[in-house]
Symmetry: C2
Subunit: 138 residues, 2 copies
């Protein structure tokens, strides 16, 4: 497990530090997406708030995680699957937010259908956020 984490960091030319290993492991453990606050709670006082912010920023820049659009004002992050991190990043994402438990799932294998836009609009990225009841709450 620790192997995989170190490999991921090395692959992205990042120094191997305690905070990065721990934060990355939180993402691997979580079945859903995480907000900054979630990581802060999971980590306790182990790391500074700023470190978490900077680590998340770094991970996003390296394409290891991505942000998820939400209807409320919370910013959530989810691990990118291999297709993302391999540079061959696809620009379509489907996410599912459970109204009951609040968990956010990253549905990588669901395909976003292209929609017809008005004249002059050029689509580059499609983010579909589906809300409802997840498989654990139904």
């Amino acid at each position: 497990m620790n192997e995989r984490i170190v490999d991921l960091l090395k692959k992205n030319h990042l120094s191997i530090t305690e905070s990065r290993k721990k934060i990355l492991s939180h993402f691997l453990d979580a079945n859903g997406a995480l907000a900054h606050a979630d990581i802060e709670h999971k980590s306790g006082t182990e790391f500074d708030r700023v470190t978490i912010y900077r680590t998340l920023q770094t991970f996003v820049e390296k394409g290891m995680i991505h942000t998820i659009p939400t209807t409320d004002n919370s910013v959530r992050y989810a691990l990118c699957k291999d297709e993302c991190s391999a540079g061959h990043h696809h620009d379509d994402h489907v996410h599912f937010m459970c109204d009951e438990c609040g968990t956010t799932y990253c549905l990588d294998h669901v395909i976003v259908p292209q929609v017809a836009l008005p004249e002059g609009f050029k689509a580059i990225r499609n983010d579909l956020v589906v809300s409802g009841i997840c498989n654990k709450c139904s």
Copy 2:
């Protein structure tokens, strides 16, 4: 114009106040979605920040405006078209964010195709956020 605003407020059983009329007119004037900060800048020091927050909250509760999910952490609001405010609110929204000018458009007439979800997931609401270049920037 003022007629229409007063009617809208009356229809939703809200008191007719200066702040509500002004904020509502900002939405009618704007071709795109507005963030709280936009309204604050447009209004200057005319109203208190808190009043704007509470007014937006009220409008959302009454179904006059709706929030738009964004990839960054900004919360934006857009006017609901007649279908929304008439109570017969449809739960699918398509929004377009221009990477160039940042304007957010509410594309009410674009239909969101239903996607196939994994077993046990029940979709209630679909929010599609398309990013790219808008008709003014292309």
